[in-house]
């Protein structure tokens, strides 16, 4: 009993860390309607600033603390609100989530231009001699740093609860989240309230960043993001609404983790698999079984109905002749590039082409789940890994033909996708996304470790297929490139057929108005399960091809959960509604490495770095550029590609009108666009203009 009490008290120390982060996540959601995946990155900023002032420059603790938490942090919140989130208040949940994903990637990289790439050792807390420990109950030990964290977290929770329950500002913050337009009708300056909310959230993130610093050997964004993932469980437990419950949830996670650590046998398979996965398991189970989350959707503006519908795809308003011309040009460009890549280019360009084809295949799964069903799935890489691992295991250990193994892998992934969709169906928006993220983390922490899944210490080998007399060898990769292109073509046709078939129309109806669709007998359940399964199968095929191409299943670089986040940001930024968007995103991603990183970045290194020494700038800059591209999604939820296509269409139209006007002055111009309506702009775009 004494031991149990000791574990509980000890767990509360670490639990208060989770609690602080969970409270911050809930606070952000309550005041902005945004589930801030970049919360850890914001905390990292404050932690780094505090470290710089306190450790590098030797400023007194109070001064460093005030600057980091009460000056820099709110300024960061202000900046984010003014530049980004103000324009996202009425945007779709997907747009908000993608923007925070982009921030999660971009903020640490931008900060490290100043802070440095290498680990910065020598972290310090906000109390002198923070390591000094007390043991008031015999076997229970608490350090000064622990006490500071617990004390400040409790004070923060009390103050926030009071703010939201008993002050006008708290009420206004909640009102702005519910509906900024209705709030403004009541004479409240929604912009100012939103700004205050973001500054407050950022202060809390800063507080977490500074308080957590002494837990780590070095100030690193990885540490913060890791803990935030754990804190998500507590935030979700609170339904993203209750600050006291989030606090309690965080404490509970800390205590449960400590008790599990103390009582589970340390060398059992259960322990080694369960312990690292516990937070993700809790997150997944809470999402699936919590009654408070049943049929819960994201916060949505009641006045959202007055927003115009998103603009139609450019292809649908383009004249047939222009469409044909565009397609002909596309085919011509494909043939020219293909000829060059096959017969003239250096071998690494063929590798780039293969990577692009495989990535495009995987990205098609995002086209299906996000473009067609409107959901953000954060386990695409996991589905790809399931395909890759199944293919490798069946082909290598059981001698199954690798192409047959690939199909079986796709079937297994489809089954997993359908099973995942079943309980997750009642969730939507951010909750569904978090459920898929929890599944990805669970797979990563538990399943991959089994030899029969991940292959053990060394990656599981995966052979290339042979098809009749064709050997998809590794010497020139030409035949394998053809195989990848054929697979991509087939799957593209399948996706287009589904989008234009019954399932696609059902999903369009559900996306337009789900209750109305249900009233005419449309089954959302069947459609969503179909889409999940299909998406998983497509990703699995892509994953299998990737394993074949690389000769083994390289889980860590290729299929980690973070990869899904990055892929989703990329595809939705380019355009998730079309097959073309997926293909262009893949080409851009694959070519980025060889063009930008090998040509552009070295130029920057040579010409810019001598003026301003930035440590290791090349790849950092590249990641920042790529991430910042995702912010365009806030303005153009239809994707950059679609936006540019519409702009190009307008330009071509103007050019033809001008030409026709000169040719037959006085005659009305023949319309190139069949309907050519004034492009409607989404709410987010209006808000940003």
């Amino acid at each position: 009993m004494q031991q149990l009490i000791s574990n509980i008290l000890s767990g509360m120390s670490y639990g208060s860390v989770y609690a602080l982060l969970a409270v911050g996540l809930v606070l952000t959601y309550k005041t902005s309607g945004i589930f801030n995946l970049a919360y850890g990155a914001q905390a990292f900023v404050a932690g780094a600033v505090y470290f710089d002032l306190r450790v590098r420059h030797g400023l007194p603790i109070p001064l460093a603390f005030v600057v980091a938490v009460f000056i820099i942090s709110p300024l960061l919140g202000l900046l984010l609100e003014r530049v980004l989130f103000r324009h996202l208040r009425t945007a779709s949940p997907a747009a908000r989530l993608v923007t925070t994903l982009a921030l999660l990637v971009a903020i640490p990289q931008i900060l490290k231009l100043w802070f440095g790439q290498n680990p910065q050792y020598g972290t310090q807390g906000i109390v002198p001699s923070g390591d000094h420990a007390y043991n008031p109950f015999g076997t229970v030990f608490v350090s000064r740093d622990d006490l500071a964290t617990i004390g400040i977290t409790v004070v923060a929770v009390v103050l926030l609860t009071v703010l939201f329950r008993y002050t006008a500002l708290g009420l206004r913050m909640r009102a702005v989240v519910e509906s900024p337009r209705m709030t403004e009708l009541a004479g409240i300056d929604a912009d100012r309230v939103s700004m205050s909310a973001w500054m407050l959230c950022s202060v809390l993130a800063g507080l977490a960043g500074v308080l957590l610093a002494p837990l780590f050997a070095a100030v690193s964004e990885f540490n913060y993001t890791t803990l935030v993932v754990v804190a998500m469980s507590a935030a979700v437990l609170a339904g993203l609404t209750s600050i006291p419950v989030a606090f309690a949830g965080g404490l509970m996670l800390g205590v449960v983790g400590e008790v599990v650590d103390a009582y589970l046998p340390t060398n059992s398979v259960i322990a080694s698999n369960l312990r690292p996965a516990l937070p993700f398991l809790v997150l997944f189970l809470v999402l699936i079984f919590s009654p408070s989350l049943r049929n819960r959707r994201d916060l949505a503006d009641p006045l959202a109905g007055v927003d115009p519908p998103p603009p139609p795809p450019a292809a649908s308003i383009r004249s047939r002749s222009l469409t044909n011309m565009t397609r002909a040009l596309g085919v011509l460009a494909g043939v020219v590039v293909g000829y060059y890549v096959f017969f003239h280019a250096a071998s690494n360009w063929r590798d780039v082409a293969i990577q692009a084809a495989i990535l495009a295949t995987i990205f098609l799964s995002i086209t299906v789940i996000t473009g067609m069903a409107g959901e953000i799935c954060l386990c695409i890489a996991t589905f790809a890994a399931i395909g890759a691992c199944t293919t490798a295991q069946l082909a290598t250990r059981f001698g199954v033909s690798v192409l047959v193994a690939m199909i079986l892998g796709a079937a297994l992934a489809a089954l997993v996708g359908a099973l995942l969709a079943l309980p997750a169906l009642r969730l939507g928006g951010i909750f569904l996304s978090l459920a898929t993220l929890a599944f990805a983390l669970f797979f990563e922490n538990v399943m991959v470790k089994f030899d029969w899944v991940g292959g053990g210490a060394l990656p599981e080998p995966t052979p290339r297929p042979t098809f009749g007399s064709v050997n998809f060898d590794t010497t020139t990769n030409k035949s394998f490139l053809v195989l990848c292109l054929v697979v991509l073509l087939i799957l593209s046709i399948v996706v287009i057929a589904i989008r234009e078939g019954t399932t696609g129309r059902v999903l369009a109806a559900l996306g337009g108005n789900e209750p109305a669709a249900a009233s005419i007998g449309i089954s959302a359940t069947r459609a969503r399960i179909t889409v999940f399964a299909l998406s998983a199968a497509i990703a699995a095929i892509g994953g299998s091809l990737l394993a074949m191409y690389e000769g083994s299943v390289n889980y860590n670089p290729d299929f980690v959960s973070f990869q899904s986040l990055f892929w989703v940001v990329l595809v939705v930024s380019i355009g998730s509604r079309t097959v073309e968007g997926a293909i262009q995103a893949a080409i851009g991603f694959a070519a980025f490495q060889i063009v930008v990183l090998n040509e552009v970045v070295p130029w920057i290194t040579n010409h810019v770095q001598p003026w301003y020494h930035m440590g290791q700038p090349p790849q950092t800059l590249a990641i920042i550029l790529l991430s910042l591209g995702a912010f365009t999604y806030a303005k153009h939820p239809e994707g950059v590609l679609e936006y540019q296509k519409r702009k190009s269409l307008d330009a071509v139209q103007r050019g033809i009108d001008w030409f026709k006007g000169r040719k037959d002055a006085g005659n009305p111009s023949s319309e190139l666009t069949e309907t050519a309506p004034e492009p409607l702009r989404p709410a987010s775009a209006r808000g940003s203009s």
Binding site: P119, Y121, N273, K449
Partner: protein
């Protein structure tokens, strides 16, 4: 999380090579590199048709994980190579040619395969130097038969005769003398073992420690936990170790978890020595001096703090100073790999080729970089020793430094003899031999 998984790939980089009897690198190290070839031959500039070789230069490429790497940038490897090349070039180069790093690529932690592809396609390099965490480009380099000189922390190293390193193929689960002997020196009768459960190599490393104490039972493994998550609190673990009387904790974790362990031990008042598998980092140690006091680190090579300094380390410092770079663990490794490359070139003769350099190195049975590293027998050490005892080193050696007041202090060796070695077939740890491989 993923980074945490990957970072522990480093954990198993424990010493594995031993010594042999033959010696292939002999010439006295005056102020330049050593070789068996006559000085006159080394200046012969004969036409050579090989990738990256012109009449004036021999170009090499480097691929290191610089960005996104939790343990910090591996860029200092290149500094070490540059220092060695600067020394060679200042002495007239080799075969009338300068050694040049023509391409210095960053694999960004997760882009090793793509980076290797580009390097092979674009760099036209004679050889590649590498320090990476996720070595996914392994098959490409092997298939290209590109001579590779790498910091060996990757299990993928095994089985490729064109790969060379500062250490032979790793054996994570092998029983070794060194740690049980160390426990005995520390007077520890009960030891603890901690490792991650999220990475196979970390678990295997823990099993290796367990196997070592089974074979050489100098102390009881009183606490064994190979199921840690990344950045995990260690309260219950420390409580139990303390209750069980553990006084020596061996870990297969990264610096972050070593730090957490030290803090928790300090908090709970547990007096125990900790081994730091990744702790040969003066910056980390000096910033956490009080916390890490008494910890033990076993570098892969002769600790740089040893006095008298062996000539090779003196040369490293001298040339690092001349090209204005600092000496870190990776700088030393870069130097060692560059020396190995030079030895291969010198041994291949004035009409060298990639194949002849590889072939020459693969004849060496006792290469030590003038005593800087443990002897390498490249007739054996490409093979995976896990299930093949015949390719394991005949000696089991380690050299140690202890953390004292934020500095590394060489320990357990003797002046001029930093290595503590055991014959591999010795069934006890009672017969350690202090050794130096300089001039051996």
């Amino acid at each position: 999380m993923v980074a945490g998984l990957a970072i522990v790939l480093l954990v198993g980089a424990c010493g594995n090579a031993g010594s042999s009897k033959t010696s292939d690198t002999i010439a006295p190290p005056i102020n330049g590199p050593t070789t068996t070839v006559s000085p006159a031959d080394l200046q012969k500039n004969l036409p050579v048709k090989a990738p990256g070789v012109s009449s004036t230069e021999i170009k090499v490429a480097s691929i290191t994980a610089k960005t996104n790497n939790l343990t910090g940038s591996y860029a200092p490897l290149v500094d070490g190579i540059k220092a060695y090349f600067a020394m060679v070039n200042a002495n007239g180069g080799i075969y009338g040619r300068r050694l040049v790093i023509s391409s210095d690529r960053d694999d960004q932690f997760g882009q090793n395969r793509q980076t290797v592809q580009q390097s092979l396609a674009q760099d036209n390099a004679f050889a590649t130097f590498s320090a990476t965490t996720l070595f996914t480009g392994v098959d490409l380099l092997a298939k290209a038969k590109q001579p590779l000189f790498m910091w060996n922390i990757n299990p993928e190293f095994a089985g490729h005769p064109t790969f060379f390193a500062n250490e032979g193929a790793l054996c994570f689960t092998c029983a070794l003398h060194v740690l049980p002997w160390l426990a005995k020196q520390l007077g520890a009768t009960k030891v603890g073992v901690l490792a991650y459960g999220i990475a196979q190599q970390s678990e295997d490393c823990a099993k290796g420690i367990q196997n070592s104490f089974k074979k050489f039972p100098t102390a009881q493994v009183a606490y064994f936990d190979a199921s840690l998550g990344y950045a995990q609190a260690l309260g219950p673990q420390v409580t139990q170790m303390k209750q069980k009387g553990v006084t020596f904790v061996m870990t297969c974790v990264d610096l972050q978890e070593s730090f957490t362990l030290a803090k928790e031990m300090q908090k709970q008042g547990m007096k125990a020595v900790q081994s730091l598998p990744e702790g040969y980092d003066p910056d980390f140690i000096s910033k956490n001096a009080a916390l890490m006091e008494g910890s033990i680190v076993g570098p892969q090579f002769v600790a740089l703090e040893n006095q008298p300094q062996i000539p090779e380390i003196s040369k490293l410092y001298e040339w690092a100073r001349k090209i204005n770079v600092q000496v870190h663990e990776l700088t030393a490794v870069g130097w060692q790999l560059a020396a190995e490359f030079y030895t291969g070139l010198a041994g291949a003769g004035p009409q060298f080729s990639q194949a002849s350099v590889v072939a020459y190195l693969n004849t060496l049975t006792h290469y030590t970089d003038n005593g800087f590293i443990q002897p390498l027998d490249w007739t054996k050490y490409h093979s995976d020793p896990t299930n093949n005892p015949a390719v394991r080193p005949p000696l089991d050696c380690g050299n140690f430094v202890k953390v004292e007041s934020g500095k590394f202090v060489p320990s357990y060796g003797e002046p001029g003899k930093p290595w503590v070695c055991f014959k591999r077939d010795d069934p006890t740890v009672n017969n350690p031999t202090r050794m130096s491989f300089v001039g051996s």
